[in-house]
Subunit: 226 residues, 2 copies
């Protein structure tokens, strides 16, 4: 047994695969989902399904109301872009200010409470072309913060932020998740889902997801509206 790990679980394909990776690596996995005032609760329902499918008994939801500081199409009254020409060319409007910093901070708190020092997050190469808080140097800097800012760290523990998907394309993630037995039908990637586990098919997240399955040659179990 590799000890306990805490996984940030969004309900998406990436974090489900990251959680499956942590289980396969021998960690006793607990999961944290963040309800950050996203447009839809459907994402949290997917996270619940994923946790159940992966037999993660300790799954907690922390609510953070980011509306008060705004700044993103995912938390604010900015429309989600659809059918964009280029994906990942610049920092998208779906960027939530300091999102991964906030999420990793909460994950660190959770880790500390349950005695874990391994944090797992499903960020990947396709993200970090656009989101600064997905870059490897950010994750390394956060490990120092977690070590210096916690009781366990003050007592000598080292913290690791694992990003097992970091250098994978979406197709690579689909292949890895598939080989680890992830039930992708329980996951939701859409920024603006029309219904439970239904994908709009047109936002950046849906288009990346669809292309990932196609490129991986793995059957896509998702339901798309268009």
């Amino acid at each position: 047994m590799a000890g306990r790990a805490v996984v940030l679980l969004s309900g998406g394909l990436d974090s489900a695969t990251a959680a499956a990776w942590a289980k396969a690596a021998g960690f006793e996995v607990a999961a944290l989902s963040v309800d950050y005032g996203q447009r839809h609760r459907l994402e949290l329902e997917a996270a619940h399904l994923v946790a159940r499918q992966l037999e993660i008994a300790d799954h907690r939801i922390v609510a953070v109301d980011l509306h008060a500081i705004g700044g993103s199409a995912l938390t604010d009254d900015v429309p989600v872009p659809r059918d964009r020409e280029a994906i990942g060319a610049d920092i998208p409007v779906t960027y939530v200010p300091a999102r991964n910093t906030v999420f990793l901070a909460l994950l660190t708190g959770f880790a500390e409470v349950i005695g874990a020092t391994d944090l797992v997050i499903g960020v990947n190469a396709q993200d970090y072309s656009g989101y600064p808080d997905c870059r490897p140097e950010f994750l390394r800097a956060f490990e120092a913060v977690a070590r210096l800012g916690t009781r366990a760290g003050a007592e000598g523990a080292r913290f690791s932020v694992h990003a097992p998907l970091l250098h994978l394309s979406k197709a690579g993630i689909v292949r890895l998740g598939s080989s680890l037995g992830v039930d992708f039908a329980a996951t939701l990637s859409c920024y603006d889902p029309p219904a439970a586990l239904v994908h709009c098919g047109r936002c950046d997240a849906c288009r990346l997801r669809r292309a990932g399955f196609a490129e991986a040659g793995v059957p896509d179990p998702s339901s798309y509206e268009s």
Copy 2:
């Protein structure tokens, strides 16, 4: 004008003094208070009064429900200790897991939204004997996270975490706040206040506050229950 700064405002004596410092230093100050499931909303009311007294027009409150991860007398069902023999000898039970990491993360998000790169937090020497996330090396590590994890940082901005009270005793903070015109009657330090702006007088925070005024030779405007 030194640009914009965001101040973490708890409603306590320390953060009020830190905010007054930022104003005196020439920053255009915005304030963020975090409603993290503390026992009493009275702390937030004090923060509101402090913001008004310091003429901080942009004061936002972000709610984070830390109950789901628990782990502290301030968020969990653990009694607040009173009349302790020694203060600051070890990490107290009022330690909230990764609290300053979470708070600074939210402050970073707020900074990013309003275009600030200066973060101000009222941590001090008396704290960091007990709380790991008040140590200077933690604050320096967080600056790297803020720079690496934000759009502004990715575009070249440097972030500074100012802790103007870091090496001050409570008496030193009282003297500084007094010289900057802070109305201490609007501040609340108590971990478990019996009423609005009333201090229990017996928890660690109350005892430090009282002793700070006495040592500073500044009249204490606070109301104490005992």
